[in-house]
Each structure stands twice: as structure tokens, then as C-alpha cells.
Homo-oligomer: 201 residues x 2
DNA sequence: TATATACTGGACCGAGCGTTTCAGAAACTG
DNA sequence: CAGTTTCTGAAACGCTCGGTCCAGTATATA
């Protein structure tokens, strides 16, 4: 009866996501979004309602396709001891591939945390929820890695590894080498804590 | 012979700085800058050449009047052992005063690091230089605090404390409690390292 | 094949942007 | 007090912004 949609919604959202990631919410203009998605303005507004609607879809896509796959090993019921190191190393590898989105543009959500659009409370909550999710995942990873450490030490190291990951994302655009050092520091903190625990036996 | 300037440049730059801090470079419109500074558009352009020129002046003012006073104890020829803890505690106090600029708006330069304007290479360099300055200052503070620790451990902890300070600034707008935890983690890392060094005797 | 449905392209909207311009007011200097 | 210089206010610039609208077209169903 009705004509079917002539584009793949996921593909469109992914294209918009890339532009928002690179340019930020404010920096991605509607004409630029048209070009990136291949959609005309009316299709964008018909499908997503507004620029914000498209941004929200892009953020969800970012969480589902970029963030969570990387965090999956840390969110599993049983977490591998080395999973938290693998996470940090995976981030460093992404930063080292200088043409990767992570290297050129950091993290869509961390970029958003310091952008004007965050004054919209709903956006701020999404970003804060992301931080909590990251913290919980790293917390599991640290617990699996330092199974013998005192709880307060594990919490402290999980806070530190989470913060250092966030700092690395904030830095990678302007100082990629220093972003890598920041992640290396997180890794070293964990391995040093483990070495010390082993020595305590 | 010539008429003298009818306003105090420093006062004007300070007012602009506050607005840029709150709203970011892109978010601070020229009309809003007029209102904040009390200057008319022509005076702004006559004095600073462009919005970017005013922003650059605001950034310098931020470095000179906000950042460097806080870092001064860490940059002195002889650094007090506890100075790095005092720095972290001072940051936490500022974050706890929920009406302070730091609590509501984080750090002007870290906000800029993830903003579109950073694609201007000159702006990116200023932000990267700030990170280096912060890292060097914290490095001195860590060296003074952990005078007996191994050099590689001091470097690692200095990288960590620097990164965690940056993460706290990135987070404070959207998750102030977590920003405080991030700084607390930095502090605990340092004190734990010192306790452990003491125990080694 | 006829029809109904909704996707699509492109013109258009008002608003706000950063910047330029210029005439006139202000006030130091000689 | 006259002259010169510079600051200042206001208006207008061209442009881009996010968003709306509608006629035309494509297509799945009956």
C-alpha cells in the first residue's frame, strides 16, 4: 500500500554519527548532515524530527556499536583477569592508528560533556550514564585483575583507570602522544599493584 | 593629543573570559560579549580585531590569573612536600563551592580541547602547552612529595595525577560528585605510594 | 493496472551569526 | 582654546543557521 523507505536507517545514523563525532553537535550543520547522510532535509526531519533527534540516534548508535562492543568483555558474567588490560591496550591501539576516528576525534560523549549542548539536561544525563557504565565495567575488570587486593584499593584503582581513560579521550585530539602516556600510566598503575600484591605473599 | 581609552582592558578581558568559560568559544555570541563586557561592537573589534582575538586575550588572562596562581607553589624553585596534595585539595574545594566558575564550567582550556575551534592549530597548541605546563608542575610536586620513590614510579604517578586532574575538569559539569572522586583517587594514589615507601624502611 | 500512501527534492522562512563601516562625540596635546 | 586623534554607537552587511512546507514522484497493495 505504501511506499517503503528508500534508505537504510542504520547506515544513515552511522554517517551522521561520524560527522557529529568529528565536528560536535554545534559544529555539524544541517547542510553538512545532508551531505554526510545522502538524505535531503525533508527526509531527515521526517525521520528524526529535528537535528537533536538525529543526534540522539547517533549517540545511541555510538553506545551500541562503538562503546559497548569494547566494554563487552568487562561486562560479562565472568570477567577474564586480563580483560581490563586488554581494554586499555585496545584504546591505545586505536589511538595509534592515526586515521581512526578515536585518534582524530576522541570520544563523542566526552566531547559532548564539555560542549554547549550539555546545558540540555537530558544530554548531560546520557553522558553521565555513560561514565557510570564505563566505571562499572572497569570496576569489574579491576576486580578480576586484582582479586586479592583490598576493596578500597580496587575502588581507587578503578576510579583512576576510569578517569585516565576519560582524560586520554579529552587529550587525544590535541596531544596524542600524551594521551597514550595517560593510558600507559593507567596500565602501569594496575600492573604495579598486581606485582606488589604478588610480592606480599 | 589623542583621546585615551575609556575602559580598563583587563576588566573587559576578564568579563569576556567568564563568558567564554561558561559558554565556550562557539557558544559566546558577539552580542553576548558586548553585554558582558559593556563595550560596543566597534570597540571590541577596534581593540581585539576579531572574536578570536578577544578569545585569545581571554585565554591568556585565564592562564595568568586562574591557572598559574594555583600552580605557583608547584613551580617554585623549592617545592613544599605537600604542595601537590594542596593543589588537588584546592581543586576539590573549588569543585565543592557549587557556585564557583570551576564547579559550573570546569576548565576553559579543557573545554576548548574538545570544541570545534580546536581545529585551529594555534588554539590546539595553546591547550597542549597548558597540559605540558600542568604536567611539569605536578611532576615537581610529585618529586617533592615522593623524594625516595623510584623515578619511573614518580613519572607514572605524575602522569596519573595530571590525567586525573584533566578528567575531573572534563567531568565536573555533568557529574560533580564523580569529578571529586576522580581527584580523591589521585590524592589516594599519592598518599598510598608514600605510605608504602615509608613501610619499606 | 489503479490507487493510495508516504518518501523526497528544493524553495523558502525568520532569526542570528561575525564582521564592516562611518559619522560624530570625546579628550588629550600643544 | 584649537587641533588632532581615537574611541564609540548604531546601522547595515552578506551569510548561514535550524526548521517548514508543498508539490511531485515512487512504489506496494488490491
Amino acid at each position: 500500500m505504501a511506499r517503503t523507505q528508500g534508505f537504510d536507517r542504520d547506515v544513515v545514523v552511522r554517517a551522521a554519527r561520524t560527522l557529529f563525532w568529528r565536528a560536535g553537535f554545534e559544529g555539524a550543520s544541517v547542510p553538512a548532515l545532508e551531505e554526510a547522510t545522502g538524505l535531503s532535509r525533508s527526509s531527515i526531519y521526517n525521520t528524526f524530527g529535528s537535528k537533536r533527534g538525529l543526534f540522539d540516534a547517533a549517540v545511541q548508535s555510538y553506545l551500541d556499536e562503538v562503546i559497548r562492543p569494547r566494554l563487552r568483555p568487562l561486562k560479562a558474567d565472568v570477567v577474564a583477569p586480563e580483560a581490563v588490560l586488554t581494554y586499555l591496550d585496545g584504546l591505545r591501539e586505536a589511538f595509534a592508528r592515526t586515521d581512526s576516528m578515536s585518534a582524530t576525534s576522541g570520544c563523542l560523549l566526552i566531547n559532548t560533556a564539555t560542549a554547549p549542548v550539555v546545558h540540555d539536561g537530558e544530554v548531560a544525563r546520557v553522558v553521565a550514564d555513560y561514565r557510570d557504565e564505563l566505571r562499572a565495567a572497569i570496576g569489574s575488570g579491576v576486580a578480576a585483575y586484582l582479586d586479592a587486593a583490598a576493596p578500597e584499593e580496587r575502588e581507587r584503582l578503578a576510579d583512576a583507570a576510569t578517569g585516565l581513560s576519560i582524560a586520554a579521550f579529552a587529550l587525544v585530539r590535541i596531544a596524542p602522544a600524551e594521551a597514550d602516556r595517560t593510558l600507559a600510566a593507567a596500565r602501569d598503575l594496575l600492573t604495579a599493584a598486581r606485582d606488589q600484591a604478588a610480592r606480599a605473599y
